[in-house]
């Protein structure tokens, strides 16, 4: 009765409430004074606050756990951990340089492939495509984002790598074999294959964030360009891209954050060999994949400590990159929001 009668009353009374247009602060004070269940209100507010504070607890928890998990290794290896490349669990010598190198290089390859494609696609979706094609394309990109990493890795092992080994890799070698980047024998699992699979993983996120950024560009910008006689492409380049530059950069950095932490698909195609080789056709190893592969095999305490420290390094890098991305994207949304208000 109480529940079923309420909606109708709400409709009637909402008009009165809006008409009264009570200030938010004033209202809540009045209600609190009159309400018979002040305890319930307080209790609910504190309960939801406790749940919201979970995000603070989680950030601290991750940092703390990774720190204490690797404290002995940090003390023993110090700064050398980051700059030496011996990874010898038997001799208990650990240096993370090949993994840091592999993570950075594979992510860089991924960005080189994914950024132009994603931004061009985002521009196509907001500026250039016929209207009827936009929504279906967006849905397909969302579906690509929903494919789990491990399934892309499976496809990478059995479909992408054999194809790369047979066609594009020999072609690249013939064309650019004289440079150090494409020299040496062709294995299949390689830094380049890892970069390509990461690129596929980060395409959807860069595309959809860039699309949001381009959509937030005021129409006035476009109209001004068209009024000056700009073609569609000129309007996009001059009025839209230059306006959205910072936001697009934020989208790219966000993609970089995802690329650095990408685990399963990369582990399955990068070859998992801790070496620093100039040739992109040679296998590599990343921070995330060494954790995935060796964590359960860590037989000694120091080995486990070193892997925890790898986790700490990975967490540190991704936190910094994500902070940067959020700052870039946040200023965009606040400025566009304030503009909308004005």
């Amino acid at each position: 009765m109480y529940r079923s009668g309420l909606p109708l009353l709400i409709k009637v009374l909402s008009f009165m409430a809006i008409a009264a247009s009570i200030a938010v602060e004033e209202r809540s004070v009045q209600v609190r004074m009159a309400s018979p269940s002040r305890f319930g209100d307080k209790a609910f507010e504190w309960l939801t606050l406790a749940m919201a504070l979970a995000v603070v607890v989680l950030v601290i928890l991750i940092g703390w756990q990774l720190w204490i998990g690797s404290s002995v290794a940090i003390k023993k290896f110090g700064f050398h951990f980051l700059v030496t490349s011996t990874w010898d669990p038997v001799a208990e010598q650990f240096g993370a340089l090949p993994f840091i190198y592999g993570t950075l290089v594979s992510s860089l390859i991924a960005l080189l492939i994914a950024v132009p494609l994603s931004i061009a696609t985002a521009a196509y979706l907001t500026e250039l495509a016929p209207l009827w094609i936009r929504q279906p394309l967006v849905s397909l990109i969302e579906m690509l984002a929903a494919i789990p990493s491990v399934i892309l890795g499976l496809w990478g092992i059995f479909v992408m790598i054999p194809w790369l080994r047979d066609y594009p890799f020999p072609f690249l070698k013939r064309l650019f074999g004289w440079t150090p980047f494409f020299s040496g024998p062709i294995y299949g699992p390689s830094m380049l294959a890892g970069g390509i699979i990461i690129a596929i993983m980060i395409l959807p996120i860069i595309t959809s964030v860039s699309r949001e950024i381009l959509r937030s560009v005021p129409n006035l910008q476009r109209e001004a360009a068209y009024a000056l006689g700009a073609t569609r492409w000129e309007a996009t380049r001059i009025a839209v891209f230059s306006y959205a530059k910072k936001g697009l950069f934020g989208a790219v950095i966000l993609g970089l954050g995802r690329a650095l932490g990408e685990t399963m698909a990369v582990t399955m195609v990068i070859g998992n060999t801790p070496q620093i080789a100039a040739s992109l056709l040679k296998p590599g190893y990343t921070l995330a994949s060494v954790i995935a592969n060796e964590f359960t095999e860590a037989t000694t305490d120091m080995y486990l400590q070193a892997l925890f420290e790898i986790g700490l390094v990975l967490f540190g890098i991704t936190i910094l990159v994500n902070l940067l991305a959020q700052l870039l994207l946040r200023t965009i949304t606040t400025t566009s929001a304030t503009r909308a208000v004005q």
């Binding site: 319930g40 979970a54 092992i157 932490g261």
Partner: protein, 286 residues
């Protein structure tokens, strides 16, 4: 002079058409992996998804046949456990951000939630290993479920906040004007109005963590048999796909494709459900 200007105009038009074409080709390239992955999943996996695969345990190492029934059930158990942790914390935390708090504190919390969403999933595995597996001396379904549940918290928190903010203020004012207490207004009016959106967010988070492998590698660990206790290692579908994919046996590769097909089908069913949920009410606020 006149002619030159016309030429220039044509050239600019050609350039515009060229840019549109490049953008179109890029869009095709971006979605092509989706088509390719689906095609190969169907070609390689469809033949192996049969009754045995869905109802039998894995065959002993080296033997042909068997299925992934334990992994399918294991994934569902892990998701249920993850939901118990992730859903209440995420939903209530999202409600706080939308309904209470000061603008400054809330923007910090929102910021942290976004940063947490960017933490690599393997990191969660390492953290839960330290928190649970080391402490209780063993891989367990609890640890796996916890890892997935923690990943769900910031995801659900952000989507809940967004949909709760969409509820018009008139609804709140009307209830408050009737003398309904604030928390009852939030639970019975605001959250009820936003329930479709909140459920959508929960489903998307479940679909996302349902495909996660990295956080389970050293928490749930995997199991070739039925799991009889949550304090024991448990199998999960993505984990099984990974183990089989990197194994040297042809029959396991065949089953990895089948498992991947089942997993993707499950995830896409949830996504289609979400689409139906949101499309039906696109006209209304939430």
């Amino acid at each position: 002079m006149h002619l030159e200007r016309a030429d220039n105009h044509t050239w600019r038009k050609i350039k515009s058409a060229l840019a549109s074409t490049i953008a179109f080709v890029s869009a095709i390239l971006v979605i092509s992996p989706l088509g390719l992955v689906f095609f190969h999943l169907l070609v390689n996996g469809a033949g192996s998804v049969n009754w045995d695969f869905l109802t039998k345990l894995p065959a002993p190492v080296g033997a042909v046949g068997g299925g992934m029934a334990n992994a399918i059930v294991g994934s569902l158990e892990l998701l249920a456990f993850a939901g118990v942790i992730g859903i209440p914390i995420g939903v209530l935390g999202g409600v706080y951000l939308a309904e209470y708090g000061s603008a400054r504190i809330n923007s910090v919390l929102r910021f942290l939630a976004d940063v947490l969403n960017g933490v690599p999933s393997i990191t969660w595995g390492v953290v839960v290993y330290g928190l649970v597996v080391l402490r209780f001396k063993g891989f367990s379904a609890y640890a796996g479920g916890l890892a997935l549940g923690l990943i769900m918290i910031p995801l659900i928190l952000r989507t809940t906040e967004e949909v709760v903010l969409l509820v018009p203020n008139g609804y709140r004012e009307a209830a408050l004007a009737l003398g309904v207490s604030r928390w009852k207004t939030i639970v019975h009016i605001v959250m009820k109005t936003a329930s479709r959106g909140i459920i959508t967010g929960i489903l998307l988070a479940l679909a996302r963590v349902g495909g996660e492998t990295a956080p389970l590698l050293f928490t749930a660990f995997g199991n070739r048999f039925w799991n009889h206790s949550l304090s024991q290692p448990i199998a999960a579908l993505p984990l099984q796909v990974f183990t089989y994919a990197i194994s040297p046996y042809d029959d396991w590769h065949r089953q990895a494709w089948a498992g991947a097909l089942v997993l993707v089908t499950g995830i896409f069913c949830v996504n289609v459900l979400v689409r139906i949920l949101t499309r039906g009410h696109a006209a209304s606020v939430v």
